[in-house]
Subunit: 99 residues, 2 copies
Amino acid sequence: MKEYRHPAIDDVALESVMHALADPCRLAIVRALRQAGRELACNEFDLAVSKATCSHHFEVLRDAGLIETRIEGTKGLSKIREKELKRRFPGLLQLIDRE
Amino acid sequence: MKEYRHPAIDDVALESVMHALADPCRLAIVRALRQAGRELACNEFDLAVSKATCSHHFEVLRDAGLIETRIEGTKGLSKIREKELKRRFPGLLQLIDRE
DNA sequence: ACGGTTGTTCGATTTTGATCGAACTAATGC
DNA sequence: GCATTAGTTCGATCAAAATCGAACAACCGT
């Protein structure tokens, strides 16, 4: 598996974050990660989309600085970039967590 | 000019808000309204888009519960639905205001 | 009544994005 | 080495969204 690229949080525009979270599938992923409170692999979400689409959504979330993914064996384990997001986008996680 | 329809704030999904703010033009409109602190007419923004497109963006923002518009003469004056947004989407305005 | 201002609506075009299947890569376990 | 697992990449398709010009509607001031 390839190495993942993660943007510096200060290079991320609010616009990109908004775009990433405007999709129901991606919002569900982020919320699941928030609730889990631990790293999750792509296939631990029950999303009604194919592997290819799922991979695409994770890429969008990574590019928007929302998640970071590390490789362990054949799996990619993702988590929210919590501390950085709290500093760079105060209010964001609060917003996502409501309801 | 026609009457504008404004959704009840509780009928608005976070997803819709995210989608509305994912567009650079619309984010600029909302930020300009925040900074102005008063009602603004469509043509008071210098957006690099046509009248038709501008009208469309205001409609999206209205449908997402972000702004409300009243008609005064030939103008449509818009402002942020501040109080309601603070209650329904805590963190949102804070997020928009940063930088 | 007429012309100017302000914005809407329509229809068409173009761009962007979501989605998938299939082929591929890389690590794991037997 | 070989099958399995996990995810990527490619190419194509389909749907949603941004954009525009032109025609229209409502109001204003004179």
